[in-house]
C-alpha cells in the first residue's frame, strides 16, 4: 500500500507501478464547441485535472464529490470508456491507458462498471438473460450453453430467481434492476468493479439490501471496488478509504472514519456538515454555516485553489498558488493552504 504522495519527476512517472491500481497525473478534458454549421472549439471542460491515487487489491475505495467534480469521469477512465487526455492508469503492472486492440479488450474483462441509473442502463428491449450474457458473448467466452449456465449462477448470486432470464427489465423494481446490473458486471469475473452511484436511485430501505449484497460479493469473489457517489454516508459505509473531489481535483484522501472524524480540508468539512442526519437533537444543535455560493465553471475554474471562491478560510495565496497535497496522518492527505489540522512533517 503506497503512501499517496504523487510522483513528481518524469523519471518516477515512467516506472511501472507496483500497486493493484494506480492513477498517475490523470487528466481528462472535453472540448466544448459552438456554432450551428461550422463547429468551433470555444473552450474545454477540465473534468479531471491531475489526479493521482492508488488502490490496493481487495480494498474498497470511495470517490465522493458533487456535480462536476470528475468522479464519474474517473470511473469511466478506469474501465476504458474514455481515454485520458494525459496521464497513466496502471493496473497490475501495465499502463492500460496505452493499450489498444486485442490487449485492450482482454484487459477490459478485469475492470467492469456497474452503471448509475438502473432505469436507463438496461436495454429495455432485451431479455434479462441476454443482458447478463452479453459481455460473455462479446468477449467470446464459452459456448451458448455454458453462458446460459453462468447466467443462472449469477442470478442466484445476486438473489434473483432464474425466471428472470426470460423477463424484460421493466418487469423489475429499481432494486432488482440494480441486481441485474451487478450480475452483468460480474459476468466476466472481473477483478475490479467501479460502482457509479450504486444506490442513489433506490428507496432507502432497498439501498441497504444492495449495499449488503455488494459487501457479500466482495468477500466471495475477492473483488476490489471503486464506489462513486455524491452521498458521503453511502461511500463511508462501503469504503475503506475515501477520496474527496472538487471541480476536477482530488482535495483529500483518508481512511473512512478519519474523513469523518478529522477532515483536513474545509470542503470535506462542509460536505459533512451538509449531510442531514436522522437525529433531531444533533440536527437542531448544529449551528453551521452552509458552504455559500455556486460551483464555478469547469471551463474556467478559479486560479490557484479551485475551492477558494466558496471557502471561508481563503486568503490571497489561495488564488496565487495551487495547494500541494500534504500528509496529515497515515494514508491521510489533503491539499489546502489553511487546513483544519496541522500537517505532519513532510513525508
Amino acid at each position: 500500500m503506497t503512501t499517496a504522495t504523487p510522483l513528481s519527476t518524469a523519471q518516477e512517472a515512467s516506472q511501472p507501478s507496483t500497486a493493484f491500481l494506480e492513477l498517475r497525473h490523470l487528466v481528462k478534458e472535453f472540448p466544448v464547441t459552438a456554432g450551428a454549421v461550422m463547429q468551433r472549439k470555444i473552450g474545454t471542460v477540465k473534468a479531471v485535472s491531475d489526479v493521482s491515487l492508488s488502490v490496493a487489491k481487495g480494498e474498497t475505495f470511495g470517490l465522493v464529490g458533487e456535480s462536476g467534480c470528475g468522479k464519474t469521469t474517473i470511473g469511466r477512465l478506469i474501465v476504458g470508456l474514455e481515454k485520458p487526455t494525459s496521464g497513466q492508469i496502471w493496473f497490475e503492472g501495465s499502463d492500460i491507458a496505452r493499450l489498444r486492440g486485442r490487449e485492450f479488450r482482454r484487459r477490459r474483462r478485469d475492470l467492469q462498471l456497474m452503471f448509475q441509473d438502473p432505469y436507463a442502463s438496461l436495454d429495455p428491449r432485451m431479455h434479462v438473460g441476454n443482458i447478463i450474457r452479453e459481455p460473455l458473448a462479446v468477449q467470446k467466452i464459452g459456448n451458448r450453453q455454458e453462458q446460459n449456465s453462468r447466467v443462472r449462477q449469477l442470478l442466484q448470486e445476486v438473489g434473483l430467481s432464474p425466471k428472470a432470464i426470460d423477463l424484460y427489465p421493466h418487469e423489475f423494481s429499481g432494486g432488482q434492476r440494480q441486481r441485474i446490473g451487478l450480475a452483468r458486471a460480474l459476468s466476466l469475473n472481473p477483478k475490479l468493479i467501479v460502482a457509479d452511484e450504486p444506490v442513489s436511485a433506490l428507496d432507502v430501505s432497498i439501498r441497504s439490501q444492495i449495499m449488503n449484497l455488494m459487501n457479500g460479493l466482495q468477500e466471495t469473489h475477492g473483488l476490489t471496488y471503486i464506489v462513486i457517489s455524491h452521498d458521503l454516508s453511502v461511500v463511508k459505509y462501503l469504503s475503506d478509504r475515501v477520496g474527496v473531489m472538487y471541480l476536477g481535483k482530488l482535495v483529500e484522501v483518508a481512511p473512512s472514519q478519519d474523513i469523518y472524524d478529522h477532515p483536513a480540508h474545509p470542503y470535506t468539512q462542509g460536505l459533512i456538515n451538509a449531510i442531514p442526519e436522522p437525529d433531531p437533537k444533533r440536527e437542531r444543535s448544529k449551528n453551521l454555516q452552509p458552504i455559500m455560493g455556486e460551483l464555478p465553471s469547469a471551463m474556467n475554474p478559479p486560479s490557484g485553489c479551485r475551492f477558494r471562491t466558496r471557502c471561508p478560510r481563503a486568503q490571497e495565496i489561495c488564488s496565487a498558488e495551487e495547494p500541494p497535497l500534504r500528509a496529515f496522518g497515515p494514508r491521510h492527505i489533503a491539499a489546502c493552504h489553511f487546513p483544519l489540522q496541522t500537517p505532519i512533517a513532510s513525508a
Binding site: E66, V204, S205, S208, P290, M292
Partner: protein, 334 residues
C-alpha cells in the same frame, strides 16, 4: 380552533387501463399555521399524491374518490376549477422536486415569477416584475434585477430551485407544499436551500408540508412527522418523539436501514425484505404485514387503526415496538 389545513379520510385514486391505483387510501392529517409538517415515506407511499390532492393537481386519471381537504375552513374537494385557480399559487403554493423540468424552458424567469403575481393581484406588468425582483432577492439570488431576463437553462440546479421558491412565495401563500425540494440538488446546495426555506417560513409565518424520503431532512426541519406506507399513515408524532420512541415497525426498520456517518463499523445494515403491496389490489389487512418481523396472525386478518397513548403520537399497529429506538435484529436473508 380549526387548523390551517385539515385533511380528513382522503382517498385519491388513479384510474389505469385495467383498474385503478388507490394511491392515497384514507389519509387524515392537519397542519397549523406556521407549522412544518413532515410527510415521509418511500416511493409509492402516497406522499406526493397527498400534496397534489391539496393543490388539486392530479395526474391524468387521478381523482379524489372521497374525503375532505379544508384550507382555512374552505372545502377544496369538489371546488369549481375557476375557484381553485384563485387559491392555487395564491393561498397555497407548491415547489416541485426537479427544478429542471418544472420551470418553463421557453419563458425567462422574470416572466415566470410575475405571471402568478399578475393573475392573483391584478397589478401592472412593471409592478409584477418589481415584485419578481423583490422575491428573487428574498430567496438570495445574486443580482436579482439582472437575472430577470435569464432563462432556466442558464442557471444551475440550486439557482433554479431558488427561482421556483420565489415563484411559490410571490403571492405570500399561507401554506407551502414542498415536494422533495432538495432531492435533486447537491448536498451543499441542499443545505443552502433548506436554510433558506426555514428562514422564509419563519419570516412569513408560512406553514409547510415537507414531503421527502429523507429522514435526515425531516429530523432537522419538521415540527411533526407523518410516516406513510402504501397509501396510509402508519405513524404520526412530534419529530423528537418519533425518533426517540417510534412505535411502528416500518418506522423502526426505515431508520435501521440508513447508514450513519457516526457509526464506525461496517456491520451489515438492516434491510427490509420484500416490496410494498400492489395498490391496485390493496389487502384488507395490515399493508406492512408481509415484510414485518413482528407480524402475528391478527395482522393478516384486520387492518390496524391509528391508536396511541396520546393524541399527538399515533400509530397503526397491533404489535408496536417497545420503548426506545429499536434496532431490528440481524438482517433477514433475501
Amino acid at each position: 380552533m380549526a387548523a390551517l389545513l385539515e385533511i380528513n379520510d382522503l382517498k385519491t385514486y388513479i384510474k389505469q387501463r385495467h383498474g385503478q391505483v388507490q394511491a392515497v387510501d384514507g389519509v387524515s392529517l392537519f397542519i397549523e399555521e406556521g407549522e412544518t409538517l413532515g410527510v415521509v415515506g418511500e416511493s409509492g407511499c402516497g406522499k406526493t399524491m397527498t400534496g397534489m390532492s391539496v393543490m388539486q393537481l392530479l395526474p391524468p386519471g387521478g381523482y379524489i374518490a372521497g374525503g375532505s381537504v379544508k384550507l382555512d375552513g374552505k372545502e377544496l374537494v369538489g371546488l369549481a376549477d375557476n375557484e381553485m385557480r384563485k387559491i392555487r399559487g395564491n393561498e397555497v403554493a407548491v415547489i416541485f422536486q426537479d427544478p429542471m423540468t418544472s420551470l418553463n424552458p421557453t419563458m425567462n424567469i422574470g416572466a415566470q415569477i410575475s405571471e402568478g403575481v399578475r393573475i392573483h393581484r391584478q397589478v401592472s406588468r412593471k409592478d409584477a416584475l418589481d415584485r419578481a425582483a423583490e422575491v428573487l432577492s428574498l430567496v438570495g439570488m445574486p443580482n436579482p434585477k439582472e437575472r430577470l431576463k435569464d432563462f432556466p437553462h442558464q442557471l444551475s440546479g440550486g439557482l433554479r430551485q431558488r427561482v421556483m421558491i420565489a415563484m411559490a412565495l410571490s403571492c405570500e401563500p399561507k401554506l407551502l407544499i414542498a415536494d422533495e425540494p432538495t432531492t435533486a440538488l447537491d448536498v451543499t446546495i441542499q443545505l443552502q436551500i433548506l436554510e433558506l426555506l426555514y428562514s422564509l417560513k419563519q419570516r412569513l409565518r408560512m406553514a409547510v408540508m415537507l414531503i421527502t424520503h429523507d429522514m435526515g431532512v425531516i429530523a432537522g426541519r419538521a415540527d411533526r412527522v407523518n410516516v406513510m406506507y402504501a397509501g396510509k399513515i402508519v405513524e404520526q408524532a412530534p419529530t423528537e418523539e418519533l425518533f426517540e420512541s417510534m412505535r411502528h415497525p416500518y418506522t423502526a426498520a426505515l431508520l435501521a436501514s440508513i447508514p450513519r456517518l457516526t457509526q464506525n463499523s461496517s456491520a451489515a445494515l438492516y434491510s427490509i425484505p420484500g416490496l410494498p403491496p400492489d395498490l391496485s389490489h390493496p389487502p384488507a389487512w395490515c399493508r406492512f404485514q408481509p415484510r414485518c418481523q413482528f407480524a402475528t396472525a391478527r395482522c393478516r386478518e384486520e387492518e390496524p387503526p391509528l391508536t396511541g397513548d396520546t393524541p399527538e403520537h399515533q400509530y397503526a399497529c397491533f404489535n408496536p415496538v417497545g420503548k426506545g429506538s429499536l434496532r431490528p435484529t440481524a438482517p433477514l436473508a433475501h
